[in-house]
Every structure is written in structure tokens, then in C-alpha cells.
């Protein structure tokens, strides 16, 4: 599989993200994120997993500089994310939101081309290279056939593939994704994870929020497990996703095993370990 980076002049860039005692509090006073610290380097695909409301998206938004932390800081190669000019950071870090809806009838290609915006001067137009890169990203994301369709006419899954192509076309050393496969069928979801893995193997730092634990075990270099605003475990997927962690995080008894394909797998008990687990903690 060819990677998006093959089409650009961008060499592999070193990225080191340091999150130091990161905290985030919403207006009601509720602490969404509590003292999250970690470091990550390029060449790695990191999956953030955890129950709903654990603070996964908040952590991702902080890394992307979309919100300001209440405590602590995020460093990109040693520099605080908030000290970057927005236009500069857009060339270092791209972000795919859970669901992006376009109100007007842009074509799919127009939307994917928007990923090239950070590289352009105000009056300059997209170059042939930008168009070729966008076409390539659409091929990877599986939406080239839709290139000339209106983005408003697409289904949720198709739109998600378009937004994935847009993030790919931004071609940044760090890529952040919030559940990029939530609306995709198995084939497209697997393909998306394979591409993310390829990006990481090619030297980018890819961090994605995800719910599919099997995919996390199969594709990620590292898994971060978050529960109630805290980073509970981080490291090798199969070490992080052990039975005790799954039970603690999701409140269900789980059994892990190796499936006939030789991959990590798990199944869960129907009965909750602690039925009111979520309530007692929130």
C-alpha cells in the first residue's frame, strides 16, 4: 500500500508529545481529566480506549490544541501547544472529529482539498500536486468514486470516509482521530486501521480514540486505557487489555483468549460485575 507521505516532499519529522499532569474542568465544576501524564514519540499508533465519559475526547482535544487545559500542559517537541500560531500547528497536527456535517453542497473533492488549506497563502490556489494528493487520499479512504458527489448527499459512513480523506490530505507529522470508524462497516473499518498503522510505521505519530478493543489489540503499537478522567494503563496492547483492566474499566467480567486466527480476543459475561459501577463513580 502506498502511503500519503510518498506524494509529498515532507520527510519523516520527529514528534515528541509530552503531556504533563493534564487536567480539564467543565463549567459545572466537574473534573473531566485528572492529572494525565504521558510521553509519545513518532512511529507509533496509539489507541485510546475506555468507557463513555472517561475523558478520551477531551484528552484528544487538548493534544490538538482545540481547548486549553485547566492544569498542566501539552508539549509538542518541547513547545507548549498553545504557543503555536494556529496556522503553524495545523501543519504539525491534524484532527478528525467524530462527526462533521457540512451545511452546503460542497463536492467531496472540495472538502478533501480543505486539508491542504494550512499550506496555502491567502490568494494562492491549490496546485496540481494538492489535487493529486487529495485524489490519492480519497483512494486510500475509499471515496474516490464519490469525488464529484455532493457531500450533503452522503450517508454517515460515506461522510466519515470523506473526513478521513481530508485528515490524510493534511499530511501532518501528528494525526489525531476521534472514533474514525464509528459509522463504518467492518471492511472499511479494518482498512482505516490498516492505513493508520501504515502511517505510524512510516514515521507519523497517530493517536486515535476507539471502542473496538479487538482492533486496538490488533493494530495499535500502544493502548491507553482511560477511566474517569485518569490514564489507568498505557503500553503494549495485550498488557493493557488484560481481564482485570477490562472488568475495572467497563464494569463487566471479561475473559481474554487467543482466537483461531491467533489474535487477541475476549468475551464478556452478561452479568455486570458492579451494576451501578458507573453511577457510584460519577
Amino acid at each position: 500500500m502506498t502511503s500519503p507521505s510518498e506524494l509529498t516532499n515532507q520527510p519523516v519529522q520527529t514528534v515528541r508529545i509530552d503531556s504533563h499532569k493534564l487536567g480539564y474542568v467543565v463549567k459545572t465544576g466537574q473534573k473531566i481529566l485528572d492529572s494525565v501524564s504521558f510521553s509519545a514519540d513518532n512511529g507509533s499508533l496509539i489507541g485510546i480506549v475506555g468507557p463513555n465519559g472517561a475523558g478520551k475526547t477531551t484528552l484528544l482535544r487538548l493534544l490538538g490544541g482545540l481547548i486549553k487545559p485547566a492544569e498542566g500542559h501539552v508539549l509538542y517537541n518541547g513547545q507548549s501547544v498553545h504557543q503555536f500560531h494556529a496556522g503553524t500547528y495545523a501543519r504539525l497536527c491534524s484532527y478528525m472529529h467524530q462527526d462533521t456535517v457540512m451545511p452546503f453542497d460542497f463536492s467531496v473533492r472540495d472538502v478533501v482539498m480543505m486539508g491542504r488549506h494550512p499550506y496555502l497563502g491567502a490568494l494562492s490556489a491549490y496546485s496540481d500536486k494538492d489535487y493529486r494528493l487529495a485524489d490519492h487520499c480519497m483512494t486510500l479512504a475509499g471515496c474516490l468514486a464519490d469525488a464529484d458527489k455532493r457531500v450533503t448527499a452522503l450517508s454517515g459512513g460515506e461522510r466519515q470516509r470523506v473526513m478521513f480523506a481530508r485528515v490524510l490530505s493534511q499530511d501532518t507529522p501528528m494525526v489525531l482521530l476521534d472514533e474514525p470508524t464509528s459509522s463504518l462497516d467492518i471492511r472499511h473499518a479494518n482498512k482505516t486501521f490498516r492505513i493508520l498503522r501504515q502511517l505510524a510505521d512510516d514515521g507519523k505519530l497517530v493517536i486515535t480514540v476507539m471502542h473496538d478493543l479487538r482492533a486496538a489489540a490488533k493494530y495499535c503499537h500502544q493502548v491507553f486505557l482511560m477511566v474517569h478522567g485518569q490514564l489507568v494503563a498505557a503500553g503494549d496492547p495485550e498488557d493493557v487489555l488484560h481481564e482485570g483492566h477490562i472488568s475495572y474499566a467497563f464494569g463487566i467480567k471479561a475473559k481474554t483468549f487467543r482466537n483461531p486466527m491467533g489474535n487477541w480476543d475476549f468475551d464478556t459475561d452478561d452479568v455486570s460485575v458492579e451494576p451501578d459501577f458507573m453511577d457510584t463513580h460519577s
Binding site: 490538538g64 490544541g65 482545540l66 484532527y95 456535517v101 451545511p103 480543505m114
Partner: protein, 364 residues
Amino acid sequence: MKYDRRISRQTADQLPALHSNGHHSWLRLILSGGSLLLVSIVIAVALGSVHIKPATIIQVVADRIGFAVSEPDAADRTIVLLIRMPRVIAAVLAGAGLAVSGTVMQGIFRNPLAEPGILGVSAGASFGALLAIAGGLSSFFTLPIFAFTGAMLAVSLIIGVAFSAGHQSKAVTLIMSGLAISALFSALTSLTLMMSNEYQVSSYIFWTMGGLANRRWEHVLAMLAPVLIALTVIFIKARDLDILLLGDEEAKALGVSPNTTRLAMIILASVCTGSIVAVTGPIGFVGLIIPHIMRLIVGPSHRILSIASAFAGAVFLLFCDLLTRLIAWPTGAELSVGIVTALIGAPYFLYLLFRSARKGGGLL
């Protein structure tokens, strides 16, 4: 697997470069729109109670600029330069400015129903105009100044309220404070109307219908800078507007600051609209339907859309105003241009909506 192989064969280098860079399309649009506008201006200046030959118009204009070919007739000269030309150019500027401001407001609020006066400009200008009328100050030049001041006061209040609530310009906050401040100004207007005499009330009502009759070069000059600045900045920042449509956080991740962009665009569009409304009174429909129609024709991309809207708005208002003059000629009474824009605009708008609904698109 078959599918995968097909895709891997189709590498990016083999894909044809379908898109030459975008400069050509907007240059072509400027050239064709510009010629259409020039022809329209000549037609509009030529027609009226006294018909003037296009050749005479060119002769008069050439003489004025300094290319004296032969001395034009003094009466023709007066009609072209002092009566028709300022009115026609005022229509061109007002039409272009309203349409482009409407385009911007629809983009900023991600809503095709937004119009240029959405943030209090209309309500504020109306109150200002009424104060001038009721205060006996409604001369040719004080009324526009009062109306413009009223518009800017209303817009600043709305922006101030929206930004003091959380230091950001969320679209909903802006629209809500816009509604509230507009209602406040409407109430003040009604209150002032109750205390005005019959003559003042009727001249206020006449003002609210919008018109271009008897506009002079001074009026044109008053609109010129705001409209040209708005057009230029919006043209340069068009792609930021496109990206803002993805959503605030999406825009931020692409290096476009949503709050700064929105604030700058709102101020531009409001100053532009305010200066127009001050000169012409409120003219409805141009700022609402022209961007909408142009979006159906040239697509939603703001660089092309703003150019297309500017030309279409200019030509549309020019011909609507021409119609008011032509209808006025035999009957003696002159229609307000706002009536004509609505009478032509509303049915055409409905036709477009139903056509797009029949094609399977939504109503909007």
C-alpha cells in the same frame, strides 16, 4: 481482494490532472461578469423618459475622463453624468454589497436563510432614520448619517453582548443577542413613531420601502469604500469562510481561528450593509436570494460565490431600479425599488426551491 488490486493500480501519478488551478475560473467569472455589468450600466443609463444613445453615453463619459473626441450635448451631459449615472452606480454598489454581505452572513451562520441585516443593521438603521425624520433633521445627507450611526450602534451592542458572554462569538449567541437588540430597537422605533406627526410617519414608511431615486454622487461616494473593502477582504479570505462551514473546532484544527474570522467578517458585512441601508433604505431580498441562487449555479465555494453574487446582485438591483423608472414614466408615480425586488425575487425564489425539491434535494 479484487477491489484492492483495482485501487492499487490506480496510483495518484496516473490520475489525470483534471483541475487546472482555480485562478482561471474566477478570472473568467470576473471578465464575463464585468462585461455583463458594463452592458447593463449602458442600457440602464440609456433608458428613461428621455432615451440616450449608447454612443452618446460613451461620448459623455469619454469627455468627462478627458478623452475629448467631440463636445457632447449639454442636456445629454447633465442627464448622463448628474442624474442617471449616480443613481445607476448607486444601484450597482448597493446590489453588489448587499449580495456579498448576504453571502458572508449565510456562511458565518451556516444557514442559507441568513440575510445581511440579521445582526441588527436594519433595525438600528431604521431607528436612526426615524430619529432624523422626527427630529426634523432629515436633509439629504443627515438622514444617511443618522441611519448609519443607528446601524453601527445596534451591531456594536450585539457583538459586545455576544463576546462578553464567554469571550467568543458562538453563532447561536450572536443570533440570539441579534434578535434581542433588534427587538429593542424596533420597540424604540414604534415608540418614536407614536410621538411623531402624520407627515413624519409617512415619510418614515416611504423610507423603509427603500429607493434609489435622486441619489447623487455624494451617496455613491459614501458607499464606495465600505463596499469595495468588504468585497476585497471577503475575496481574499474566501477559503477561510469555506473552512468555517466545517464547524468551529474543525476550522481551528485547519489553522483558521473561528472567533477572529467570524468577528472580522461580521464587522465587514455589517459596515458594508449599514452604509448601503443608510443611503438607500432597507432593500429586501437582494441579500437573501442572490447568494442562494448563485450557490445553486456556481456552487458553495466562497471565492467564486462572492464574485458571482457581487455581479448578480449589482445587475439585479440595477434592472429592478430601471423598472421603477420605466413604470414611473407613463403613470407619474414612482415605485420603490424594494417593492420590485420582492415582487420579482419572491416568485423566482419559490420556483427555485420547488425545482430543487423535485430533484430530490431539500427545500434549502
